[in-house]
Amino acid sequence: MFGRLHSQSRSKVMTYTISLPTCDSCNAVQYPSREICRNCFSENITHKDTDASGILLAHSTIGHSLHNQFSTPAGWPIATVQLNKGTVLIVHLFDSAMTTGAKIRLQSLMDPDGRRVFIALPLSMKAISWEDLIKERMK
């Protein structure tokens, strides 16, 4: 459910990963997901772990949502992030105070509708659940 945490024994550096659909033939990441590779048209797409760290490119707080679950008192922060390996994603943003250029890591979590979604967290922050997120948002 959460992004995975790997300890690389030699460097002692903690690396977070998320799983994204990736082409077996050319390694192109397919996000949003595709059944045929966006680059080489291969049918062989499998989920592979990739480095979950990146930077925040743009941020916003949704003040007017079409879905009640996002109507929280201070609005619902989202962001556009770019992973270090280049993939760009629109994701939930944990901390609305984070601004453009901030270093982030992504974590995967399950939302109440059963969708696997991503949230951008400060690099040093531990993994959270959707329930933790809602508690934080309702403060």
Binding site: P32, A58, H59, H64, I78, I90, T100, D113
Partner: protein
């Protein structure tokens, strides 16, 4: 990509500009707005519906029906039909396809119509299932619809070019002033800078007056040969150039430019016109940042300088210089779904044939209509542009 040597659009005429007045909500179907448009087109051109042998349509709410359904609905038997589902690029693209069909003799009189209804909860349903990518990768993140993506695009543009919210106001204020003189505009209340800045928060830097109001309505026009327009004795406009580009700059992490910058020089060259020759500019104004992007990428100012460009001149219909979105655009008229992609063309035809609805610009000769559309995931994928000129009777 190799450059194309396109054939021009000589001897093609646009006539009968039709706007079916918008309503915020409607319990009618999209078919109703298509039918009203067809009736108005025939009245303006003084033709019978059987004379229309081509139909090009755009609509989000016509589904599950399509253009073929409309032929049966209205007892018509055309030789040529087309459906263009490209949102804010639909009008220019429908016009291009229709113009080619007329040039090639596939049809004589083609009705181009963008029409949509707006039932209660209709906008929510449209947004929730807009595309497979957006259902998977944007809607679950705040369910903000287009406001979410465009708030991120706007924030990125502000960061990149060191702008504040105030820099987006001029587009909205000038358009509201235009709307006060256009009889069909839904939003006519005078808008001040203070009103703009203090408006209700929507998403990120976007507030109420940066966003269009979804509504129901239609925009339509006829495409035919110049000879046919003269035979029918109807005022007409000619096409000086059309360009299209799709999924341009796809590796930009966040959209801050579009395909217009790739084709703009060719568009002006093919029309034998300079930027300074353009009297009327119609950008697709779903958000002010997108209008500013088009102004830059079409070459009216340098990249990142649109805020300064619009601040330093009067863009209203009664100004002596470049007039921008003379009817108030979507920001003041409302966004009637796919009709929004036809709005600029229809208003340009009215202006260039001296038949504006209360907001006539003084003796315009040329118009540039720019289209933008289809946020499939995180950016609009369509960039189109067309230059129209007042028709010349030979």
């Amino acid at each position: 990509m190799s450059s194309l040597q396109k054939t021009g659009f000589d001897k093609v005429a646009l006539v009968a500009p039709v706007s079916i007045p918008y309503t915020k909500i409607s319990d009618k179907s999209a078919h109703y707005f298509f039918g009203r448009s067809l009736k108005e087109l025939t009245l303006q051109a003084n033709i019978h519906k059987d004379h229309i042998d081509g139909i090009a349509v755009s609509s989000f709410t016509l589904l599950p029906d399509t253009v073929i359904s409309l032929t049966e609905y209205f007892d018509m038997s055309p030789t040529w039909i087309e459906q263009v589902s490209l949102g804010g690029a639909s009008g220019v693209v429908a016009m291009q396809r229709a113009a080619r069909a007329v040039q090639m003799g596939d049809a004589n009189i083609i009705a181009c119509i963008g029409a949509d209804t707006n039932k209660k909860e209709g906008f929510k349903e449209l947004v929730e299932n807009f595309s497979s990518f957006s259902s998977e990768a944007t809607y679950p993140y705040g369910a903000a619809g287009p406001n979410g993506v465009f708030s991120l695009i706007t924030q990125n543009y502000m960061d990149k070019f060191d702008l504040s919210r105030k820099d987006f106001a001029k587009i909205c204020l000038d358009q509201r002033q235009n709307a006060q003189h256009y009889e069909n505009a839904l939003l006519k209340t005078k808008l001040t800078l203070e009103d703009y800045l203090e408006a209700r928060h929507i998403a990120g830097p976007l507030h109420l007056f940066d966003c269009v109001m979804p509504c129901a309505g239609a925009e339509a026009f006829l495409v035919m040969s110049v000879d046919k327009a003269i035979e029918l004795d109807v005022p007409f406009v000619e096409i000086a150039g059309i360009e299209e580009r799709y999924n341009a700059y796809s590796t930009d992490p966040v959209q801050y430019r579009g395909g217009w910058s790739i084709f703009a020089n060719h568009l002006f060259e093919s029309a034998h016109l300079a930027r300074s020759d353009i009297d009327l500019l119609y950008t697709y104004d779903d958000y002010p940042v997108i209008s500013m992007m088009q102004i830059e990428d079409l070459g009216f100012c340098d990249k990142g300088k649109a805020a300064e460009f619009v601040k330093n001149q009067d863009l209203t219909f009664d100004s002596p210089g470049l007039v921008h979105n003379s009817s108030g655009g979507q920001l003041s008229c409302g966004q009637a779904g796919s009709a929004a992609g036809y709005m600029g063309i229809v208003e340009a035809i009215r202006q260039l044939t001296n038949s504006a609805l209360g907001n006539q610009v003084s003796r315009p000769f040329t118009a540039l209509i720019s289209g933008y559309g289809m946020v499939n995931y995180d950016r609009g994928l369509c960039s189109v542009g067309s230059i129209l000129k007042a028709g010349a009777r030979l």
